[in-house]
């Protein structure tokens, strides 16, 4: 039974001090309840789980908020395949607590790993400090089950995952995800420090080549001081082995220290941040800029993702805008891990916008889900995109018809004795679709077939032992 609560204020206020308006909030217990909510009425729906986004991804505008936090079942752990099925409200920490009993882990650790849910991480296609080795969420998903904008429950296979993962809930509500897992590693850490940017860059360049390095995090001088370290740049170099200087308990101590970076700088009033992925050849310029403006930051340095931190006053807001403008000029990816939401729509590339609009129209043509988050869908633009899609579909039809006309007459394929191929390479002849030959092949023909089969599948024909 869905619970509907009255304290809407808790869903309307957020870190950006921009107040939204919720028409209602529901905590669904089942897929059917969500489908009914989508199909009934003209609801504009906002999907929410942890609510940890900085860019107002869950800001309601007279919206029905569907809070999936209670959909938090973990099931079907397959130890052999190392997969697990989870609902969107499962928190990352809960998942890893369960997996640690089996010496397994889910290796993506985003910034607010303590409160992030799997649903939110999938919506943003999160990565973390270990991106250089473990990549992003989409690489760890086998399939999803979603509810589309028309209320249809659909399974999304690997080839279509990018239609949902990273689309910030605009193309479907994730109901289940099959996640891939990895063995739990015994990790270690090395700490490097320097006053000079050039030293940091040089060290990172060499370290990135090492295979067992899973993350290289950089703390600015200000944040290093706040954490009780020297007033220098600090590199936390984490390995998927115990070769680093700090192992076991000392590793945990420094790992936790590094993860306090945001808390410490936020305590000083610099709590507004943004994730910006800088390309490798622009990192030095970006670092020089941050140093010159005295902007505290921490970075997932190995993958070039920076988190500059800002206060709330006018001077800090100006610095924030300046930083984003520079990042755009350097062709960086803004809101790389935080999601575009409401606040960063103007940083999407035009070509990406076009692609995302098409995907959106395929899954949610009625614009019920997370309306105007991530992308604007003004009626004129929607009509233009729909027209364009229609034209392309027509062009494709015409091209296909022309191909059929222009194709040369098909030659009859050589008759191959499927039995011989089956015996060599396919233990299940019933699974093939070719017909049996009408007469037996001669010895010469059999040899010819063997050579062709091995030519396709590799290996050498066995020599006759006679």
């Amino acid at each position: 039974m869905t619970k509907i609560i009255k304290n809407k204020k808790v869903y309307e206020q957020n870190i950006q001090d921009i107040e939204g308006k919720a028409s209602a909030i529901m905590f669904p217990d089942s897929v059917e309840e969500i489908i009914n909510a989508i199909r009934v009425g003209d609801n504009n729906i906002v999907i929410r789980a942890g609510g940890s986004s900085f860019n107002l991804n869950t800001l309601p505008k007279d919206s029905l908020i569907i809070d999936v936090s209670k959909m938090n079942k973990i099931s079907s752990l397959n130890l052999e395949k190392k997969t697990i099925i989870v609902e969107p409200g499962v928190m990352l920490q809960e998942l890893n607590d369960v997996l640690s009993q089996y010496e397994l882990e889910f290796p993506i650790i985003p910034l607010f790993s303590g409160i992030e849910t799997i649903g939110g991480m999938l919506a943003k296609n999160s990565s973390g400090s270990r991106e250089v080795k473990y990549n992003r969420m989409i690489n760890w998903v086998d399939w999803l089950e979603i509810i589309e904008g028309n209320g249809e429950l659909k399974k999304i296979s690997k080839s279509d995952l990018s239609d949902v993962i990273g689309m910030e809930g605009t193309t479907g509500i994730i109901m289940k995800a099959c996640l891939r897992l990895t063995s739990k590693k015994k990790r270690s850490l090395v700490l490097l420090k320097s006053e000079k940017i050039s030293d940091i860059l040089e060290a990172t360049k060499r370290l990135r080549l090492k295979q067992d390095i899973c993350s290289i995090d950089l703390l600015s001088k200000e944040i290093s001081s706040l954490l009780g370290l020297e007033n220098k740049y600090h590199l936390f170099v984490e390995s998927d082995s115990e070769e680093g200087m700090f192992k076991a308990e000392e590793y945990i101590k420094f790992f936790k220290l590094k993860n306090k970076a945001y808390n410490k700088i936020a305590e000083q009033g610099f709590y507004l941040t943004e994730s910006i992925k800088i390309s490798l050849d622009s990192i030095e310029d970006f670092l020089i800029f941050l140093e010159s403006r005295k902007i505290p930051f921490f970075a997932y340095f190995s993958s070039g993702v920076f988190y500059p931190c800002f206060g709330k006053n006018e001077q800090e807001k100006a610095k924030f805008e300046e930083t984003l403008a520079l990042a755009k000029r350097l062709k960086s990816k803004i809101a790389y891990n935080s999601g575009i939401g409401e606040l960063r729509k103007n940083f999407l590339e035009l070509s990406d916008k076009d692609l995302f609009r098409r995907v959106k129209l395929r899954y949610d043509a009625n614009f019920k889900l997370n309306k105007n988050k991530f992308l604007d869908f003004k009626p004129k633009i929607v009509e233009l995109v729909k027209e364009k899609i229609k034209e392309e579909v027509e062009e494709e039809k015409i091209e296909k018809q022309q191909e059929i006309i222009e194709q040369p007459p098909q030659q009859e394929p050589d008759k191959i004795n499927i039995n011989n191929i089956n015996n060599i390479n396919n233990p299940n002849p019933e699974t093939t679709t070719l017909k049996r030959p009408e007469k037996e092949l001669t010895e010469e023909e059999r040899e010819k077939v063997k050579k062709i089969a091995f030519g396709f599948f590799g290996g050498k024909p066995k020599e006759n032992k006679e």
Binding site: I5, N7, K9, V10, Y11, Q13, N14, I15, F27, G50, G51, S52, D67, S69, K70, N72, G89, Q93, F112, G114, I115, Y262, N263, K264, A266, E267, Y271
Partner: protein, 114 residues
């Protein structure tokens, strides 16, 4: 009609929670949120309600364990604010009736859990 004491307490609550940025980091260790999974039962939710002078019985859900204060970047005394808010609720007759029954039974020397 609001007494002077109530007015002062409400101002103290606003002062305690003035710096709350709604970041949500307080939810990480909250035992109540982990079970109930509702924003209104989380420390952030309580902070938003109190900052908006909304006094609801849901404030009695908190166990006052202070795990949220550990995680809060500003170390805000959220539990202190909730205790003060409960005083306001009690004075308005919106107390937690279950707790009231337990206290009565303790006074009578009978089993407070039945």
């Amino acid at each position: 009609m609001q007494t002077i004491e109530e007015k002062n307490i409400k101002e103290e609550i606003i002062e305690i929670l003035e710096k709350c940025t709604r970041c949500g980091l307080c939810k990480e260790l909250c035992p109540v949120f982990k079970v109930l999974r509702e924003e209104q039962s989380s420390p952030r939710g309580h902070s938003i309600l109190l900052s908006n002078k909304i006094y609801e019985k849901i404030l009695f859900d908190c166990t006052l364990c202070k795990a949220c204060e550990e995680k809060c970047p500003f170390s805000l005394k959220i539990c202190e604010a909730i205790k003060k808010a409960r005083f306001i609720l009690n004075s308005k007759g919106k107390e937690n009736t279950r707790l009231k029954e337990m206290l009565k039974k303790l006074g009578e020397g009978t089993n407070p859990y039945i």
